[in-house]
């Protein structure tokens, strides 16, 4: 299905990533956005509030993030494609309902413009430390899809894609962007509606009496319904059988929850998107995502000038994780270097998949800024000089980290 021309703001813009994501949501057919403004995601919500009423997208500023996410789940069940927009503190508040949405197999998109944390952290500056929260933030087992765009154009493109994935797999899709990309302004081209593919909701079309809300298809995804159609829906966050009725038996628990996990796992090859460059024959592969991948480019360039063979692998989708690909590359390369704006999150998945066949070097950053490319270059050089694979995850000491450690955590004002 193609996008509705009414909701596609075709044109060439010079806008930031937040706004581009907002426009992407409209183009994808998002009809309801509930949010509670929070820096640095506010511009995305503003973009929806500004353009939404003209294209038939309803918005509401809720009383808090608990309300925002609950409202979008409600709207999803009345038939709308929905999104909420937030950053760190709001994201934490939403976790309970994210699990509820996953349990109900509700398609929805969550845009998280990550900022420095924990707590209030640095509201106006960047971070990438919500990555594990995006995967496991709510209690219980479930799987999500998480995407990390690296430019305003990608914020538009991948917001559209996020909606499509949400409809296809009926799961939460997180756009795990960051303040740098959210507040980065670049040219964004929004194509004509006929060039934008949108995934329609997979609605049940049979007789009401035959409808079983959680009866899966071959790809493990059940057909969706909406309220008000005479289906007498019984939908609950309690572990349920195919009819949606509560059951507490361990067999049903497995059937219900295992499927939430497996519908993503068995389809992961269709979901995962990677961007690789210079991988063949590379001695070191830099694995990164979001803004860090653009910063790493400079470090890679510097390392290449020293004659080191470096390849780059960008995780466009971070979750589900590309286990097989990392595993395969671990047999061919000496080391993975992982710059991320946290003290080690995605790097542990790289290490898990490297299986000790290649060194895994973390280039950490505490947030409120991006890596110094020279640190990435030095980490690459360090990694390539190891005679045999290092054990576990090696944390590279960056210039910034050294300055903190050397002062014994006491910084001169």
């Amino acid at each position: 299905m193609k996008a509705d021309p009414k909701s596609v703001l075709t044109g060439v813009y010079y806008i930031d990533g937040d706004v581009a994501a907002g426009y992407g949501a409209l183009a994808a057919g998002c009809k309801f956005v509930a949010g509670y403004p929070i820096t640095p995601s506010t511009e995305a919500f503003e973009a929806v509030c500004h353009r939404g009423p003209k294209v038939g997208t309803v918005f509401i500023q809720m009383e808090d993030e608990l309300g925002s996410i609950s409202a979008i789940l409600g709207a999803a069940w009345s038939g709308a494609k929905t999104m909420t927009i937030t950053s760190g503190p709001g994201y934490s508040l939403m976790q309970d309902a994210i699990g509820f949405g996953a349990m109900l197999e509700t398609p929805f998109v969550l845009l998280n413009i990550q900022r420095g944390g924990p707590s209030t952290g640095v509201p106006t500056k960047t971070g990438q430390a919500d990555m594990m929260q995006s995967r496991w933030g709510s209690h219980g087992d479930y799987e999500v899809i998480a995407i990390a765009p690296d430019s305003p154009q990608e914020m538009f493109d991948y917001t559209v894609k996020a909606f499509n994935l949400a409809e296809k797999y009926r799961c939460p899709v997180m756009i795990m962007s960051d303040e740098c990309v959210g507040h980065m302004t670049e040219k964004v081209v929004i194509p004509e509606a006929e060039k934008i593919d949108v995934e329609p909701r997979r609605l049940f079309t049979g007789k009401a009496a035959d409808y079983r809300p959680f009866s899966p298809g071959p790809d493990l995804v059940p057909k969706m319904a909406k309220a008000g159609e005479g289906l007498n829906l019984y939908i609950t966050g309690v572990v349920h059988n195919e009819n949606g009725h509560p059951v507490a038996d361990e067999k049903y628990k497995s059937a219900c929850i295992r499927r939430l996990v497996d519908k993503i796992r068995i389809n992961k090859d269709k979901i995962i998107e990677l961007k690789e460059e210079g991988i063949d024959g590379a001695d070191v592969i830099v694995v990164s995502y979001g803004i860090s991948s653009r910063v790493a480019v400079k470090g890679v360039e510097m390392a290449r000038q020293k004659g080191i063979k470096v390849g780059t692998l960008r995780l466009v989708t971070v979750w589900p994780f590309p286990d097989d690909r990392i595993n395969e590359l671990a047999m061919k390369t000496k080391a993975f270097v992982v710059p991320e704006i946290n003290y080690g999150q995605v790097v542990y998945d790289v290490a898990r998949c490297a299986h000790g066949h290649a060194s895994v070097v973390l280039v950490p950053h505490g947030g409120a800024g991006v890596h110094n490319p020279a640190d990435v270059a030095d980490a690459i050089e360090f990694a390539v000089n190891q005679e045999k694979p290092m054990e576990g995850v090696h944390e590279f000491k960056t210039r910034l980290e050294k300055s903190v450690f050397e002062g014994g955590f006491k910084l001169k004002e």
Partner: protein, 258 residues
């Protein structure tokens, strides 16, 4: 709880509305058979989120009539009630108050349940109708599980209100007392002896106190622009023809026609 379900059923019946267009988001569990017999759509949401979830249902499809059922004295999600009422979201909130009464030392005092509160409670219950009215609810009432006919009538009336209506329902805790029929009937006896109907009473005077009678009745009934009305008016004013109103227009009352 069964008597409340029965009142909801009768209320919907009396309202004449299409059951297919009614959704009940609830943080209190209903049995699947109950939902089937009501002929509505039902969503059991995390505790405290029925009003927020219901707001989304309504905004996603304004044709729907939404009856959020909330319990736990709205300790969770009370803010959704306050702000949902302020913005006059078109919902009928049934607030199940299981603050029951028990005689301690010869005097009736509110307890949550004996199971949770072995030494009874010293906290005062909310005056929900007063809270709702202060926040701008267009309809407020209070009934006990004993007043099923009055409750059904209130539900029927409130379902035709444009805006946030709220009915507080004093009832035994649904799960703890489900099998304890003795206590159930004892409590209903208590409601019978201790409640007094005062329709049109100022909700400010309707606080539940340990010594006084429980005042029940339909307290307030007024008109105010709903959230969707205000949303439409505001954007039409600013954007003119560029804006297509959402849902039914203010002059068309009742079920709405999308």
């Amino acid at each position: 709880m069964n008597s409340i379900i029965e009142a909801i059923n009768k209320g919907i019946e009396q309202s004449g509305l299409d059951r297919n267009k009614i959704s009940i988001p609830s943080d209190i569990p209903f049995e699947p058979e109950t939902v089937k017999s009501l002929g509505v759509d039902y969503f059991q949401v995390p505790r405290g989120r029925a009003i927020a979830f219901g707001s989304g249902l309504k905004l996603g499809n304004p044709e729907l009539k939404i009856i959020p059922v909330v319990g736990d004295l709205m300790t969770l999600g009370g803010n959704h009630f306050v702000h949902g009422t302020r913005r006059n979201m078109e919902l009928l909130v049934l607030c199940i108050n299981s603050f029951v009464y028990h005689k301690v030392a010869g005097k009736s005092v509110p307890v949550v349940t004996e199971a949770f509160s072995p030494y009874s409670t010293f906290e005062e219950p909310f005056n929900f109708p007063h809270l709702g009215n202060s926040c701008g609810a267009v309809y407020t009432a209070r009934w006990t599980a004993l007043h099923t006919a009055e409750l059904a009538k209130s539900i029927a009336e409130a379902l035709h209100k444009r805006g946030m209506s709220m009915i507080e329902i004093l009832a035994p805790g649904p799960s703890y007392y489900r099998y304890v029929t003795d206590l159930d009937s004892e409590l209903l006896q208590f409601y019978f002896e201790n409640s007094t109907v005062k329709n049109d009473e100022d909700p400010r005077n309707a606080a539940i106190t340990a010594d006084g009678k429980i005042i029940v009745g339909k307290f307030t009934d007024k008109e105010r622009a709903t959230f969707i009305d205000s949303y439409n008016i505001q954007h039409t004013k600013i954007l003119g023809d560029a804006f297509t109103p959402h849902g039914s227009l203010p002059e068309k009352t009742g079920g709405g026609n999308g």
